[in-house]
C-alpha cells in the first residue's frame, strides 16, 4: 500500500493501475517520490470564472501536493465538461484528477474526477457570498480549494488561512495567498500568536510603562489584557490548545521565566525556573502537555522542552558550545511531530526543523538571514522572515520539497504566525 498515492488508494487497486498504465506515464496512482499527481481544472464559466480558476489553481499549487497542469484552455470543452469527460485524453496529458467548478448564485460547486478510474470521486459545495473578489468571496474559494485538496490527496489544504505578522510596530493579517493585508492592532504590537480556533490573537504590547500581553477577539474586536503579572516584561504569548490559558515569558529583575495564566483572569503560575537566565518564546504541544522554548541557561540561547508544570525539562538539541551557537523561536507543528526554529550557522540565522521522532535536524534555508518560522496547519509548510531580498519579508517554504514563495512585499514584515484552518464565513 505504501506504493500508492494515498488519496485515491481506496478507489483503485495499485496492481491494476500499474498494469493498466504503460511505464513512464505520470499518473498519480503510482507514487513516485517527488512526483506530484497532475490535476486539470476545467475552465470555469461566468464573469468571475477566470478569476476563480486562477485562484483555485494557485491554491492547489501552493499546497505542493498536486501539480496543476496548465492545459485547461487548450482542451475542447467536451474533454473536460459534463459527467463523462474525455478521461483518456486527460490521462495522456498526465492528469490523475479533473476538477470541474460551477459558480452558481450564492454557491460554488466542484466535481472531482479520478481520471484513472474514470469516475467522479466527490462533489463539493461551498456558500459563495456576492461581490466578486471581496474577501468573503475569496475566502469561499479558498475553502473550496482546501476541500478539493482533501478529496484529491487525503489532506485538507491550507489556503483558507491567514498569517499574522508585524510591520511598523503593528500587527497585520494577510491571506495565505498574499492578498488583503490589513492592520489589526494600534501601535507597538509584537509576537502575534493565534488561538487554535482562529478566533483570537494575542500579542505583546510595548510601552514605557512596561510590556504586557493583549488578547484580541477577531469577531467582536474586543481587546483585553493579561493582568496576572502587571509589572516588568510580559512577552511572547502562546495559547494552550483549549484557548483557556496563555503561556508567556515574564521578567522582572532576575531573568525571564515562562509563566502560565488564565485568559479570563486569575493568578499566574510559574513554569520554568531559569535562575536568572532568559526563557522566552514558548510553543505548546498540540496535546497541551509540553512546552518548547528558548533558554539562555547554558550561556547561549538554545531550545528546551518541559512539561507544562515545569518538570521534566530537557534540551531539545545538542547544547551549542561554540560562540556562534544560537537557537531560538521554536514552533510546534499542529501534528505534534516537528519543531521548527532558527539556528545560527556561519553567523547567519537559518530555518531548521527538528523531528521529534528521532531528534534529527534538517536545515531548510541558506540564503540571507531567515528566522521566526511558524507552521501552516498542514504541518508541512512554514512561513518565516527572510532578508534575502534586502528587506525583511515573509516567505513560505515547503519543508518537504524546499520550494519557496515570497508572501509579502511590505519592506519590513516579521514575526509571522500562521493561523489554524479558519471556519467558513458565517
Amino acid at each position: 500500500m505504501r506504493g500508492c498515492w494515498s488519496g485515491i488508494i481506496g478507489l483503485v487497486a495499485c496492481a491494476a493501475s500499474a498494469q493498466a498504465q504503460p511505464g513512464g506515464v505520470r499518473i498519480g496512482l503510482t507514487y513516485a517520490p517527488g512526483v506530484k499527481p497532475g490535476i486539470v481544472i476545467a475552465p470555469i464559466g461566468g464573469v468571475l470564472g477566470d478569476s476563480a480558476h486562477a485562484m483555485l489553481g494557485r491554491d492547489l499549487d501552493f499546497g505542493d501536493r498536486v501539480s496543476v497542469i496548465a492545459a485547461g484552455s487548450a482542451l475542447a470543452p467536451t474533454t473536460v465538461t459534463g459527467k463523462a469527460p474525455n478521461y483518456a485524453l486527460l490521462a495522456k496529458l498526465g492528469a490523475a484528477g479533473l476538477v470541474q467548478v460551477e459558480l452558481a448564485p450564492g454557491r460554488v460547486r466542484a466535481t472531482v474526477h479520478d481520471v484513472g478510474a474514470q469516475r467522479i470521486i466527490d462533489t463539493l459545495s461551498v456558500a459563495l457570498p456576492a461581490g466578486g473578489h471581496s474577501r468573503p468571496w475569496r475566502a469561499a474559494l479558498h475553502l473550496l480549494a482546501d476541500d478539493v485538496e482533501r478529496v484529491l490527496t487525503g489532506t485538507t489544504g491550507m489556503a483558507h488561512t491567514r498569517i499574522a505578522f508585524v510591520k511598523g510596530g503593528r500587527t497585520w493579517l494577510v491571506d495565505s495567498d498574499g492578498a488583503f493585508a490589513e492592520p489589526v492592532s494600534d501601535g507597538s504590537a509584537l509576537s502575534p500568536t493565534w488561538r487554535r480556533d482562529g478566533g483570537a490573537l494575542a500579542w505583546t504590547v510595548l510601552s514605557n510603562a512596561g510590556t504586557r500581553i493583549q488578547v484580541k477577539e477577531l469577531g467582536s474586536g474586543r481587546l483585553s489584557s493579561l493582568v496576572a503579572t502587571p509589572d516588568g516584561l510580559n512577552i511572547t504569548p502562546a495559547f494552550t490548545p483549549d484557548g483557556s490559558a496563555i503561556v508567556y515569558a515574564h521578567g522582572l529583575d532576575n531573568g525571564t521565566d515562562l509563566w502560565i495564566a488564565p485568559v479570563a483572569g486569575g493568578e499566574a503560575r510559574r513554569v520554568t525556573v531559569g535562575r536568572g537566565s532568559d526563557n522566552t518564546s514558548p510553543t505548546v504541544s498540540p496535546d497541551g502537555r509540553r512546552v518548547a522554548f528558548t533558554s539562555g541557561r547554558t550561556g547561549h540561547p538554545d531550545l528546551y522542552v518541559a512539561d507544562l508544570d515545569g518538570t521534566n525539562t530537557d534540551a531539545l538539541t545538542d547544547i551549542g558550545l561554540d560562540d556562534d551557537s544560537y537557537r531560538s523561536g521554536p514552533d510546534w507543528s499542529s501534528d505534534g511531530r516537528s519543531i521548527a526554529f532558527a539556528t545560527r550557522l556561519g553567523g547567519q540565522f537559518q530555518i531548521a526543523v527538528l523531528s521529534l521522532r528521532d531528534r534529527a535536524v534538517k536545515v531548510l534555508t541558506s540564503d540571507g538571514k531567515n528566522e521566526d518560522p511558524s507552521w501552516a496547519p498542514d504541518g508541512r509548510h512554514l512561513v518565516f522572515t527572510s532578508s534575502r531580498t534586502g528587506s525583511q519579508e515573509l516567505w513560505v517554504i515547503d519543508s518537504e520539497s524546499g520550494r519557496l514563495r515570497q508572501l509579502t512585499r511590505e519592506r519590513g514584515a516579521r514575526l509571522s504566525a500562521w493561523s489554524p484552518r479558519l471556519p467558513a464565513a458565517p
Binding site: 510596530g169 509584537l190 509576537s191 505583546t204 510595548l206 510601552s207 514605557n208 510603562a209 512596561g210 510590556t211 516588568g232 516584561l233 512577552i235 511572547t236 515569558a249 521578567g251 522582572l252 529583575d253 532576575n254 531573568g255 525571564t256 532568559d278 526563557n279 522566552t280 518564546s281 528558548t294 539562555g296 540561547p301 544560537y326 531560538s328 523561536g329 532558527a342 528566522e371 521566526d372 516579521r414 514575526l415
Partner: protein, 225 residues
Amino acid sequence: MNSMLPTSKRPTRRPLAALVLGVAVLVSACSKKPETAPVPETSPAAAATASTAPATTATTPATPIAPVVDTAAERARREAARLKAREDSIAAARMLASKTAAELKAALVATVYFDYDRAELRDDTRAALEAKLPILRANSALRLRVQGHTDERGSDEYNLALGQRRAASVQRFFTDRGVEAGRFALVSFGREKPASAGDDDASRSKNRRAEFEILAGGEGLAGPR
C-alpha cells in the same frame, strides 16, 4: 575605569571656573554701560550677546570726552553701577547654580553601554553608574526609569529579555549600594528602538545600552556632598 575618572571629576571643577568667568564678564559689561540697566538673563545665548556688547559700544564713544570726573553725580552713578553689578552677579550665580543642576541631571540620565549578548557591567558602564550614585543618594525623592536596549542581532523576542536583564543589572548596581529597588522602574525595548540606525559595529555598540528617564524628584537636584 581610568579613562572615565577625569570626566567624573570635571563637573565639580568646571562650574567654579565658569562662575568666575561669568561674573567677570557681567561686571565688565555693566560698568561700561551703566545707563542701560541689563535685565538678568537666564539663557546662555543672551549672556553671550551681553559679553559682546562692550566691543560694539566702544567704537562709538559717549559724548562727554572728559575722563572720569570725581563729582557727586558720578560717584552716585558708580555706586548704582556697583550695586547693579552685584545684583547681576547674584543672578548669574543663581543661573549657574541651575546649570549645575542641569549638569547633575545630565550625569544622571547619561546612557550606559554593554557588550554583545551581555548584561554584565563593563568598567566604563560601572564608572558611569558610579557618577549617578551620589546624585541618587543626595536626592531621596528621585525615581528613575531604566530602559534596556539591544542591538539588532539575535532573535527579536529573546532580545527583549536581554534588554530587561540589562535594566535589571543597572538596578542591581544601585541596590547593592543601598539605593532602594522601589526607586527604579525597569522596562525593555529589546532591539525595537535603536539609538543608531546602522548595522555596523559602531551603531551596534551605541544600541546595546541602558537609558535613564527621571520619573519623579528631578526638580532642584542637590549636588552630591
